[in-house]
């Protein structure tokens, strides 16, 4: 587990305790235990593990008041949003050829031509588009990029670029809405809404007691290997991660009518800018009937 993932796991634990306790307590506890064990395994002594563990608290304690509170989580959410926004804007600004922080159709066209002029993969074959096809593909890709041009003037301004990713990631920001995730963490022992350094340390010290069997404060290789909390296999860990994400993501209810027993649901998707062409359902020998076609909105849907 990388430092980033490690941090995310711990942060996720703290961020959504109450909601998660109601829905996925086992997964959350497992994730907490995993983060603790990873910290101990990465350390040679219990005190080193304490330093590593405590640094996670310090990294999230952003409001200047000791202890982790809802306010810290809100700031952390704002930082995460700002990073996402900055990354997204920077990605778009690679089209800004003259450095004026706005993007015109003329600036977009060379980039899209570079994609459109190349060969197209058609199933297992590759074909070269005609000039007319390539220009049309490039034009459509430009129009797609200009969807964020809310003023409709054919220019993507910096403000429009900044606004776009915020809309996209608003669902994630909801995680930090106190009304959705009341702060009563697994770690908040006295339930006062603030995780103190001592409270934060409880699960680590408990695990360290179990692992450091001879109590000398040194986590030896043998103790690491003999620990009761063996790492979970990769597939099980993936399941846990998925369960954790399910707990974190806002849930939506699918309002489509239930399908009949003999119907199949086909889900088609593509990455941004990728074209889906020549989609064939069934064959001459096996006719297929499309009963309903649901095209989700621009917003990625987990419904």
């Amino acid at each position: 587990m990388t430092g980033k993932h490690f941090l995310c796991a711990v942060f996720a634990l703290i961020a959504l305790p109450a909601m998660a306790q109601e829905t996925q307590p086992v997964e959350l506890l497992q994730a907490q235990q995993r983060a603790v064990i990873d910290t101990l395994v990465a350390s040679d002594t219990v005190s080193e593990a304490q330093i590593r563990w405590n640094s996670l608290l310090l990294a999230d304690d952003l409001d200047g008041i000791p202890g982790l509170s809802e306010r810290d989580l809100l700031i952390r959410g704002a930082i995460r949003d700002a990073r996402l926004r900055a990354g997204r804007v920077a990605q778009q600004l690679r089209f800004d050829l003259n450095g004026d922080l706005s993007i015109t159709r003329d600036e977009l066209l060379p980039f899209e031509r570079a994609s459109a002029m190349g060969p197209i993969r058609n199933g297992t074959r590759m074909i070269a588009p005609t000039d007319v096809q390539a220009e049309e593909i490039a034009r459509q890709m430009v129009e797609r990029r200009l969807l964020a041009d809310t003023s409709g003037d054919g220019i993507l301004t910096l403000q429009e670029l900044l606004a776009e990713p915020l809309k996209k990631y608003v669902a994630l920001s909801e995680l930090y809405d106190p009304s959705r995730a009341p702060f009563a963490s697994l770690l908040d022992g006295d339930g006062d809404g603030t995780v103190t350094e001592a409270e934060f340390m409880v699960p680590l010290l408990a695990a360290a007691d179990r692992m450091d069997t001879n109590g000398d404060g040194i986590i030896s290789l043998i103790e690491k290997q003999q620990r009761a909390d063996r790492p979970v296999p990769k597939t099980a860990r993936q399941k846990q991660d998925r369960a954790l994400m399910d707990a974190l993501m806002p849930r939506r209810v699918c309002d489509l009518a239930p399908k009949s027993a003999d119907a199949q649901v086909l889900v088609l998707g593509g990455y941004e800018g990728a074209a889906l062409s020549n989609i064939v359902f069934g064959s001459e020998e096996q006719p297929a009937y499309v009963v309903d076609l649901v095209i989700p909105s621009q917003q990625p849907s987990r419904a």
């Binding site: 640094s55 190349g118 060969p119 993969r121």
Partner: protein
Amino acid sequence: MHADVPGDDKMRMVLRWADPARMAGSRIDDTLPVIVAFMRANDIDGVPGLSYDDAKMRVRMDNASRSLEPIQRVLASDLDGNLEVSRVEAETVASIAASRPLQSAAGLVQPDQNQRAALTRRLADGVMEADRDDDNVVSESEIRALAAHPAEDKENSQKRFASQEAARIIAWADANGDGTATFDEISANVRGVLDLIDSDDDGRITRAELQAVK
């Protein structure tokens, strides 16, 4: 019948695209248009044929990407999304990195409050470098100033121009020397290379024939 013996660069470029192009089939007649289409992806100025304008445009496209890092760094500290970054915002973001344990000769140590404050300030200073009027706010106009594409020395610029695929293709495909490689000229050259690779002259490029020239 083989065309002129192609130069190394021409061979390299055809070989680069020959493998993926074989998805179109092993016949040279099927492969050829796909390889040419890969090369045509450099034709970005809207005028048919590869010209030095295409290569220049590519250099501009590369330049646009090169100036993004400072803007991204500043915007990542714009917590309220108002296109301004105050020192408080910069230090809030910097404090996360400043909380990481430090490796010392004695082992891992938790930075004390003073160390964290100093590191936070130093990291925030990196963001606040863009604050040219020293008012402790990186304003929108100061962010805009970061977008100005960095100047490049002439020699470097020429190197980057010459390394563009469009410029390299023109160097070997522009038969009449008018500065533009038409797709007919490119096709003729690519066919020459493919004919050369097709050692048994059966009009097909096999894997073994490709391996033999690699």
